[in-house]
Amino acid sequence: MAQVIFYIIGAFILGMAILAVTAKQIFRSAIWLLFSLIGVASLYFWMEMYFIAAVQIIVYVGGIIVLVIFAIFLTHQSDEDMPQPSLKRKIASALAILLGLAFTTSLVFQYGFTPSPIPFDTEVNRIGRQMLNTGDGGFALPFEAISMLLLAAMVGCIVIAMRDSRPIQKTESSSSNTLQNHPQEMNT
């Protein structure tokens, strides 16, 4: 029963991923990617890793895919079919896929997964404690480093988006022109 559910979810993820790559329209391929990511989240749910599943949905579905769709909306011709890639590119990408597949399978077979006897602890409190733990096996330093990185990114965004606060100076020539033109019109 459990294995059947696993294979159904896996087939769903892979099927949606293939659709995402082969779709003719860029918007559709974003939607298939979305379903693929939801499939990954449902895999986490099935493994009872609820927190990771929720974070997967919030970050990828609620954040990244929405931004991708926004970018697609803002581009022209988003509803037209994309051109077929050239044969050279097709061969290159097929080779890359084969290489990646071979690499992953060799890793999987070398590692030889064995089921762990330790039961999962999915309490969110534990994740938080671990994240801010400065002792052994704690993630306080990486956590702070990442937060510094994100803060720097945020400040950078604000600086780029900030409007220039200096008042726009009117050019002298344009204002004087209107003044000069006016009497002439009056005369004629």
């Binding site: 918007f27 979305l34 929720a54 609620g62 954040g63 509803d79």
Partner: protein, 359 residues
């Protein structure tokens, strides 16, 4: 307790597992839950649309629907029948698959979000350990349904409505999440039952001091925006966009969008009632034993639905009072006011929780 949903569900559960094998019993329980959820959907749609029309008419000194049935009670039933028998048009040159998929995505998401809500004492579909986070995560998918509907319609009004809706939901999710976090910090858990148990001695709105009140106000504003309701209904602004993302929809597909809107209102108000007003917890005042016993005598489901409908009424009150915001005002309200205030408020709530200043 004379009337308890918990006992009913427990006895059904025990009877099923005693008389059938485990898999079959589980499937039957799923089926029962599915039927109940769909039934609740239909009932909510009818009741909430009726309530909205009556509230709006009373606030404008009108009569509201009063022709079908006593006091117009069956107006929404008649409307539903009309929408069911109406032809569901799919216009030419739309993306047919996505066009037909979008209303179902919105609907399914609204159904899934119902899972962790505690409708009464011990009456809950799934007491997942990340309860509130689950609701926040899953409800963020519903914006995708709106974006798909807007794009697939091949209509510029729909596209504009969808883009506005996307910008709005993505930004207001932040302050809704932060105001929810303030309560999570105070109660020390994401699980719905933990949050309700933490309010045994008093609702967070009353015993959480200033941070809880600020969080409550921000939460109500943010969820009004997230459910695309006036004064934040730019996504479907009738006067500018002829209906926004559901311009091209008709018949049952339109009805699904409409129903999902109202069910989403119910869900967010149920979350608000759980976080701030103690869910099914009865109203207690300190040491007034007699008063507290009388309050205990009222069934928990009535407490829950009463609080939820109070919040729904407040959101409807907003809709029939305030004019619609412009898109820049909308984003300004979120990024310049709600977000900084709710961040500061989260800090305040943390201080209160650590110092134990709440009752």
């Amino acid at each position: 307790m004379m009337f308890s949903l918990e006992n009913i569900t427990n006895s059904i559960h025990e009877w099923l597992y005693a008389n059938l094998n485990a898999t079959l019993a589980l499937i039957i329980e799923f089926a029962i839950i599915g039927v109940l959820v769909i039934g609740l959907f239909a009932a909510l749609g009818l009741v909430l649309i009726m309530m909205e029309r009556k509230v709006s008419s009373w606030m404008q000194l009108r009569l509201g629907p009063n022709r079908v049935g006593p006091g117009g009670m069956f107006q929404t039933v008649a409307d539903t029948i009309k929408l069911i028998v109406k032809e569901g048009m799919t216009p030419d040159r739309v993306d047919k698959l996505l066009f037909n998929l979008a209303p179902f995505i919105v609907m399914v998401i609204a159904m899934v979000v119902m899972a962790p809500i505690m409708f009464a004492k011990g009456f809950q579909i799934w007491d997942i350990n990340i309860g509130v986070l689950f609701v926040l995560a899953v409800s963020s998918i519903s914006v995708i349904g709106i974006l798909i509907a807007g794009w697939a319609s091949n209509n510029k009004y729909s596209l504009l409505g969808a883009m506005r809706s996307g910008a709005q939901i993505v930004s207001y999710e932040l302050s809704a999440g932060l105001s929810v976090l303030a309560i999570v910090v105070l109660s020390g858990g994401l699980r719905m039952s933990t949050i309700i148990d933490a309010q045994q001695t008093g609702w967070w709105l009353f015993k959480g001091h200033i941070p809880a009140i600020i969080a409550f106000v921000i939460f109500i504003i943010a969820v009004t925006a997230e459910t695309n309701r006036a004064p934040f209904d730019l996504a479907e602004a009738e006067s500018e966009l002829t209906g926004g993302f559901h311009t091209e929809y008709s018949g049952m597909k339109f009805a699904l969008f409409f129903l999902a809107e109202y069910v989403n209102i119910f869900v967010v108000c149920a979350i608000g009632a759980t976080l701030f007003l103690g869910g099914w917890m009865p109203f207690h005042i300190g040491n007034w034993q007699a008063f507290n016993h009388v309050m205990d005598y009222i069934p928990s489901s009535i407490w829950f639905f009463g609080k939820t409908f109070l919040l729904i009424f407040i959101i409807m009150w907003f809709r029939w009072t305030f004019p619609r915001l412009r898109i820049d005002q909308l984003l300004q309200l979120e990024w310049k006011y709600l977000l900084p205030i709710s961040m500061f408020n989260l800090l305040l709530a943390t201080v209160v929780a650590i110092a134990g200043w709440h009752f």
